[in-house]
């Protein structure tokens, strides 16, 4: 019987494990990837300060700490079901069942697929898959590609591909359909890019400063967007061109690109064939919450947090006794926020286990404040209304407790 089983060895899960081991709890961390670090492993970008954020180095720091504290971490294990028992939780995995008094679900996020015609061909991948292949497995994803979907995540990863010497023709929007609509609307995409310009790495600042924040300027910017795209790191970013079809018989051979109006309508007769051998599709992220759902944890739909999120309070407790959440399952934010949330969840678990543990309340308060401080200073923000989203989920927790 473990004091806590932690599902997910990313920044949240590892930080929580460290906090629990520092109070000598009996901890097991499991992760389905062959090595620990989660999506942190793939991250490599320049901060607005000019410093580089290297996910492999950040993972190593966490792993060194966890190892010094003799933390039990099993990788390559998938949890496929969780049951509530009289004394805690049974975690069913492909390597057997683990019993635990408490449970932390830190499963992160999954990528939203953006279906466009031809997206099932070999050579089409999500932008996150390209990131993992490039930065984690060191595999070249192809010789020349395009990125479909223009947002903060895809721009950051496109840069990583460039740094790895992979040629990208350009970034463009997906053709509009009921699933892609928000990603396919130039005005919405422009809004998103301008909003992040002040936070994000240097090339974004240059990108953003070309288009002032006033709505009328943005409208003009969308209407008179340069035909050749706006270059970032030497690569054209098109928000007035869309990929309408991915072509190929056995695998990707080319894409069909069209001009689009400021509202995302395709301009007839503007089709151009561009030869590429891979395509990265970027549709954003949503909280990966299946395991919280199978145990019956209540959910709340909060758009600002990326979708359906398990109800939880600011100490990372859910309404189910002994069930905690941390990291992107609680809302899409940066790895730094996930790490701070992990420490906080770990301390909350320590409190749950060792009720009269001295100074724990002060430590938890400090950790809550730290999560907010890290959030306020975040250089990458995926959703603009993150603070409002957080408030919604906390009031949902309060309501749940009352009812």
């Amino acid at each position: 019987m473990y004091d806590v089983v932690i599902i997910g060895a990313g920044p949240a899960g590892l930080s929580a494990a460290i906090a629990c081991r520092e109070s000598n709890l009996h901890v097991l961390v499991i992760d389905e990837f062959p090595k620990p670090g989660g999506r942190l492993l793939g991250q490599l970008h320049q901060e607005p300060t000019g410093e580089w954020w290297n996910g492999i180095e950040e993972t190593k720091i966490l792993m060194d700490k966890a190892t010094t504290l003799n933390t039990e971490i099993k990788c390559g294990i998938s949890a496929h079901h969780i049951e509530k028992t009289d004394h805690g939780y049974s975690v069913h995995t492909n390597e057997g069942v683990f019993e635990s008094e408490n449970l932390l679900i830190a499963t992160g996020a999954a990528e939203t697929a953006v279906p466009i015609p031809g997206w099932t061909l070999p050579g089409v991948m999500s932008i996150g898959a390209a990131q993992v292949m490039t930065n984690v497995h060191r595999v070249r994803v192809g010789n020349k590609g395009v990125v479909v979907g223009v947002n903060v995540l895809s721009a950051a990863i496109a840069r990583e591909l460039q740094l790895a010497g992979v040629e990208l023709h350009s970034m463009a929007l997906p053709a509009s359909n009921p699933v892609t609509k928000n990603h396919a609307n130039p005005r919405k995409v422009m809004e998103g890019l301008v909003r992040i310009a002040h936070l994000a790495p240097s090339a974004f600042i240059r990108f953003g400063s070309k288009f002032a924040k006033a709505e009328w300027v943005r409208n003009i910017a969308v209407s008179f967007y340069p035909k050749g795209g706006v270059k970032m790191w030497g690569m054209p970013i098109h928000i007035r061109k869309a990929i309408v079809q991915i072509n190929g018989t056995e695998k990707v051979e080319s894409v069909t690109m069209c001009d689009i109006t400021a509202d995302g309508e395709i301009v007839k007769g503007s089709e151009k064939i561009i030869e590429v051998d891979f395509v990265c599709i970027a549709g954003g992220l949503y909280p990966l919450a299946e395991l919280a759902s199978v145990i019956g944890c209540p959910f709340q739909y909060v758009e600002e947090l990326g979708g359906h999120v398990p109800v939880h309070n600011e100490q990372m407790e859910t309404p189910l006794e002994g069930l905690f959440v941390a990291g992107n399952i609680t809302g899409i934010e940066s790895a730094k926020v996930a790490r701070a949330q992990g420490t906080l969840a770990g301390l909350s678990i320590v409190k749950q286990k060792l009720r009269d543990h001295k100074d724990i309340n002060a430590k938890i308060q400090q950790a809550v404040a730290n999560v907010q401080a890290v959030r306020d200073a975040a250089s990458i923000q995926f959703h603009p209304g993150i603070d409002e989203g957080r408030k919604k989920i906390e009031s949902a927790f309060e309501e749940y407790k009352i009812s």
Binding site: S78, H92, V179, Q245, E290, L291, G307, H308, A396
Partner: protein
């Protein structure tokens, strides 16, 4: 233009989903059962948000607080032996 596939495991197209949703004014669950969208090998991990988006478009309603398609264990593909059969 080719059919736009939404659920790649079960090869369900956008057209199939839209037609079914319009014809039966379905809930997400009914739509899944009628078309098999989201019932393939990946357990809906790839197409779930896409199916939700099509429904949102057809019904004009934002998703509620409950997850539209109930999540069923096993949430990862596992061999039958893992679920209780004899291991070889």
């Amino acid at each position: 233009m080719d059919k736009l596939i939404i659920c790649r495991c079960e090869e369900v197209s956008l057209e199939d989903i839209e037609n079914t949703a319009n014809k039966y004014s379905c809930s997400a669950r009914e739509l899944k059962l009628r078309t098999r969208a989201g019932m393939g090998y990946c357990g809906g991990r790839t197409c779930r948000p896409a199916v939700d988006a099509v429904l949102e478009e057809v019904t004009g309603e934002k998703p509620g607080n409950d997850i539209p398609l109930k999540v069923q264990p096993p949430v990862r593909p596992v061999s039958l032996s893992v679920l209780g059969g004899k291991k070889r």
